[in-house]
Symmetry: C2
Subunit: 303 residues, 2 copies
C-alpha cells in the first residue's frame, strides 16, 4: 500500500514539499485550519490542493488516521498546541515530523508527547527558504525517527542531513543559522534602504552582491572568522563613519551600531597578539581562543 | 619610459597590488612610515619589498617626484594628513589614487587638495578583502582621474568599475557595502561563538554555509528584500527565541537583538498589504515603497 503523507497546515512550505513528492509514490493529504483556509474549504482552495495532487481532509483526526507520516507545517506559535492535539490520534509506527521554527525545548516537549503514543518524532529544520530552494531545501533532522525519515524521503528527492543528539538538536542548529540569515536580511534591508535614499540603489546592490557572488560564502565566512582577531578593532572604527553616513540619510543605523559593538567585543578580547603570532587559519582555533579569553575575562571580573 | 607607480604605505593591500602589477610594465616604488617600518628600513623589509619587485624610497617627496601614479594605502586615520603632505609635491598629469576606507567627505577634501596642484584624483575603493580576492579585488573608482585610471590599469589586470558622480561616490558605495560585509562578519562571529559554546561549531558552520554556498548571494539578497514586506514580522518574532538560546549559552545576542529591531521596523511600516497585493518581485519596488511609507510615517508624527 502506498505511503500516506499528511500535511498539517498547507502554507508555502507544505505546498513546496507536496509539489516535490507528487508522483514519487506517496498518497498526499492535508488538513488546514488557518485564518484564511479552514474546513469546509473554499472551492478554489480545494482546487489549488488538487492541482498539487493533494486531497484535503476535514479533521486532524482523519489526517492522523490515514497518514503514516505527518508533517506539521503550521504557524510557528501554533506548533505545540497542534502537536498535543494530534498526539492523541498517533499510533506506533507513525512518524511525526515537525518542520516549524520553534525552540529546541519546544521540539523536545513535542517529542515526548509523540513518544508517549509510541510514534517516532523527527525535528526537521528547513535550512533555507522553501521559496528559494524548492523541495530540495536542505532539511536537517534529529530525533528518534530521523534515520527512518532519511531512509524514506531521501530517495524521493528530499535533501536530508542527519544531526546526532537530542530531538531538538536540529532546532538548535537552525537557530544558530537564523542569527546569520535573519542578520543578513536585516543588514541588506538597512544598507539598501540607505542606498535608495542616497539615489544609488542599483549601484549599491551591484557593489554589495557582485563581489559576494564571486566567492563561496563558506570562504567568506571563514575569512571573517580568521581575520576577526586582527582586524575587528579597525573595522569597528570604520563603522562609526558608516553610521554617520546613514544618519545623514535619515536612516537609523541599527545594524551598523550593533556590528560596531560586536566587533569591539572581539577586539576587546585581546586575541590580536595570539592571532598574529599563530597566524590563525582555522576558524575553530579562533573560536576556541575567544571562548577561553571570554571565560578568563569573566572570571577576572574585568569585562 | 615605463610608468612609475608609487605606493604610500606598504601593508597588505599595497603588496597585493604590487604583486599583481609586477612584470606588467610599471616601475614599482614604495614609501612607508608606519609604527613597524620606516626609513631607514630594516634589511628584511627591504628584501621583502625587493622580492615583490618594489624599490623602497626614503622620502614621500622622492616618491611623488618619481611616480606618475601614487596609491595611498595607509592606516585609515592617516589618509587625510598623508594626502595634504603629499599634495605639495604633486604636479599636473599625475594621478593620486586614494584606496583608504575613509568617508566620502574626506575623499572630497583630498580631491580638492590634489586638484589645487593640477593633478587628478581617484577615489578607489576595494569592494572586498585583498586577502580574499588578491589583485583582482573589485575596485570601484570615482573622481576626475577615474576614467584614466581604468584606461591605464584594467589592461594590467586590475578589476575596475567606474562610478559616476562626485569624487566620493565610490566611497559612499563602499560604506553602504560595509553595512553588509561588516554586518555579516558580526553575525557570523556571534553565531559561531554561540555554536562553539554549544559544542556544535563544525555542524553549525556547515548548516550556515552549505545552503548559502548553494545559492548566489545576489539571489539571496533579492529574496531578503522582496520577502521582507511579508515575513519581517514573523522573523522578528523568531529572533526572540534565538536570543534566548544565545543567552542560555552566556552569549550576548547583540546582532540578534538588532536584527529583531530592524525587522520590526520593516514590519511596522505596514507594507504587507501592498506587498501581498502587488506580489513584489523587484527589490527596487520594495525599497521605494519603504521610502514612501517611512516618509509618510515621519510626516504623520506617529513613528
Amino acid at each position: 500500500m502506498a505511503l500516506g503523507v499528511g500535511f498539517i497546515g498547507f502554507g508555502e512550505a507544505a505546498r513546496v514539499f507536496a509539489g516535490g513528492l507528487r508522483g514519487t509514490g506517496p498518497v498526499l493529504l492535508a488538513f488546514c485550519r488557518g485564518p484564511r483556509n479552514a474546513p469546509p474549504y473554499a472551492p478554489a482552495f480545494r482546487q489549488a490542493a488538487a492541482a498539487l495532487g493533494v486531497e484535503l481532509v476535514d479533521t486532524l483526526d482523519e489526517l492522523a488516521r490515514r497518514a503514516d507520516v505527518l508533517f506539521s507545517a503550521v504557524a510557528t506559535p501554533a506548533a505545540a498546541a497542534v502537536a498535543s492535539e494530534c498526539a492523541a490520534a498517533l499510533r506506533p509506527g507513525q512518524l511525526y515530523v515537525d518542520i516549524n521554527a520553534v525552540a529546541p525545548a519546544t521540539k523536545e516537549a513535542i517529542a515526548a508527547a509523540v513518544a508517549a503514543r509510541g510514534a517516532s518524532f523527527v525535528d526537521a529544520e528547513l535550512m533555507g527558504a522553501a521559496s528559494l530552494y524548492g523541495a530540495a531545501v536542505p532539511l536537517y533532522v534529529s530525533g528518534d525517527g530521523a534515520a527512518e525519515f532519511q531512509r524514506r524521503f531521501a530517495p524521493l528527492g528530499l535533501n536530508v542531513t542527519l544531526v546526532p543528539g537530542a530531538p531538538g538538536a536540529a532546532a538548535a542548529l537552525k537557530m544558530l543559522r537564523s542569527v546569520v540569515t535573519k542578520g543578513i536580511e536585516a543588514v541588506v534591508v538597512e544598507a539598501m534602504f540607505a542606498a535608495v535614499r542616497a539615489g544609488m540603489a542599483r549601484e549599491a546592490f551591484a557593489a554589495i552582491t557582485e563581489p559576494m557572488d564571486a566567492v563561496k560564502f563558506s570562504d567568506f565566512a571563514r575569512m571573517c572568522l580568521t581575520s576577526d582577531p586582527i582586524h575587528a578593532g579597525r573595522r569597528a572604527e570604520e563603522m562609526i563613519g558608516v553610521g554617520e553616513v546613514l544618519r545623514a540619510l535619515a536612516v537609523d543605523p541599527i545594524m551598523v551600531e550593533a556590528a560596531r559593538r560586536r566587533l569591539l567585543w572581539s577586539a576587546g578580547l585581546g586575541a590580536r597578539p595570539e592571532g598574529e603570532r599563530e597566524g590563525m587559519t582555522d576558524y575553530l582555533d579562533v573560536l576556541r581562543l575567544y571562548d577561553r579569553l571570554d571565560r578568563s575575562r569573566e572570571q577576572g571580573g574585568s569585562s
